[in-house]
Assembly symmetry: C2
Homo-oligomer: 307 residues x 2
């Protein structure tokens, strides 16, 4: 079923203990689209870049099955640019540069062809833009998932509250969940956040896995212990892309299927961190994805003989 992806398509420059990159392709919608392309078809992208954005990157997305009719190219303007440096343990990062450029005035236009999308993934953007997208869709999608970040809680909490009322799933990390709820306990936080709107909440915990909360149910997805995290950039968006891509491909929205979707998201994210930027997300083979999925399922599989 069709998937609509909204988010940044951008340049990143990344420094990790393993090296640094020049400007490379990045942005939430890039990672989401690429990850979902391994699981589903009919992926539609709404985003904005400047005329400095290389056409070969757009063609790469197209070859991966992403429809780019909704990707606006602004003449005479520059693409969003982010630069960051990771700490030695990769557990924190400093932002060195943020140039909003075209993203500062982003007015998302939904092509007619995209109007009947059934799954909507709102990558991290200003809540106002996320709301506009939902309002501009003539039919409510079967499922709306959304990402956000601390910055919007600080500067646009009113808009964020409105956006939260319109979505089915929120996908954020543990630090964001704690800030949004004002609660340290993630279980308490999950109740508070779900009272703000989304029925489902996914809390990503990086190397500690992810939690899915729905009703009174909880699912704890493991993360694969890795020898080396080469570059964590985009891992969260890759997770979201794998998650929503799996849901869109199977067409079932329920707790059990979301558990499976989280394993797909986790597996794709585990590839993402193995190289810089999107490098490892290009040309992945079905066989290697299946091997990784089996590793994830095996990681926490245990049977007890209880009455």
């Amino acid at each position: 079923m069709s998937l609509l992806v909204i988010g940044s398509v951008a340049f990143d420059a990344i420094e990790t203990p393993f090296g640094k990159t020049d400007k490379i392709i990045g942005g939430a919608a890039t990672y989401i689209s690429m990850a979902s392309s391994y699981l589903t078809k009919d992926i539609n992208l709404v985003a904005v870049v400047g005329d400095d954005f290389p056409s070969e990157h757009i063609q790469l997305l197209q070859r991966m099955g992403v429809d780019t009719e909704g990707l606006q190219i602004k003449n005479g303007e520059k693409s969003f640019f982010w630069s960051g440096r990771y700490s030695n343990d990769m557990n924190s990062r400093d932002t060195l540069v943020t140039e909003l450029n075209v993203l500062g005035s982003f007015d998302p236009i939904i092509p007619d062809n995209y109007q009947n999308c059934e799954y909507l993934m709102l990558g991290n953007l200003s809540p106002q833009v996320q709301i506009s997208v939902i309002e501009r869709l003539k039919n409510k999608p079967k499922l709306i998932a959304m990402d956000t970040m601390n910055f919007w809680m600080d500067v646009a909490m009113d808009d964020l509250s409105k956006a939260l009322k319109l979505v089915d799933i929120l996908i954020i990390n543990d630090e964001e969940a704690r800030q949004l709820s004002g609660e340290y306990s993630l279980k308490k936080a999950s109740k508070i956040i779900r009272n703000m709107g989304p029925r489902y909440l996914i809390i990503k915990k990086g190397e500690h896995g992810a939690l899915l909360f729905y009703d009174e149910q909880v699912f704890f997805a493991p993360a694969l212990p890795l020898e080396e995290v080469f570059d964590p950039t985009g891992a969260g968006d890759t997770f979201a892309g794998g998650f929503i891509g799996y849901l869109a491909s199977t067409g079932k929205v329920d707790f059990e299927n979301m558990k499976r979707a989280i394993i797909y998201g986790s597996a794709l994210a585990s590839f993402c961190v193995e190289k810089f930027g999107t490098e490892r997300l290009i040309g992945l083979k079905e066989e290697e994805i299946n091997v990784r999925l089996k590793e994830f399922v095996g990681l926490s599989s245990v049977e007890l003989n209880l009455d």
Copy 2:
């Protein structure tokens, strides 16, 4: 099969955001013995207390099935005392008081009745004492598990290295694993530590679960997301007690059975943190343990349809 438990039996005074206690019963061997008592019989304790230690606490351990012949009571001396205060998020704690007292000169004596123990759990103590216990056993137990802490890495690393060569499983937390190995990546750390002696390594990650490493295999055990951690004191020892108690009761030492043992340890630890000290570990019912075990298994259970 018989289990020998060595460790501190002590007084604790605890402050958490939820309140504070006077001197209550504590110590690694107390938690380990109590937790294992729900899973196995023939538990033998080697420890030392002063004559200030209330006999009703010793009788309580006996009623729970713990043989206390190896518990030395030193006349005219005082029991080990630890006092600590937890931070508001319960993620760190400050030690307010450590009075070694009888523990400073602890010379572990193994009663003849304990000589044929098959499972040995060395709670956190000076590595020299842990080594003495192993040397004083006439027959090598089927399985030796050991806990330690950062302090011994700082002040007694040579002895700790010797102890590590004598044990089958090391059970430590993530911070300790990183210090012991000098590696941030837990997967890399696990290889380095297992090269120091233990074939099996369990890394406890608190609210993030636990990892078991053996050979090329990894198991990721989830932790139950809790609304409230009332008092984390003893949770790690309770985990160790549940783990070794399950192994002793089943008599099988292999990776699959250790996975199950970790779930038992995790389930018992999840009770421990619900009240102050050992309070919640007294009078647990089989039925509530089984319910909790099923929650743990359900928490990470997922099935994918892969070829």
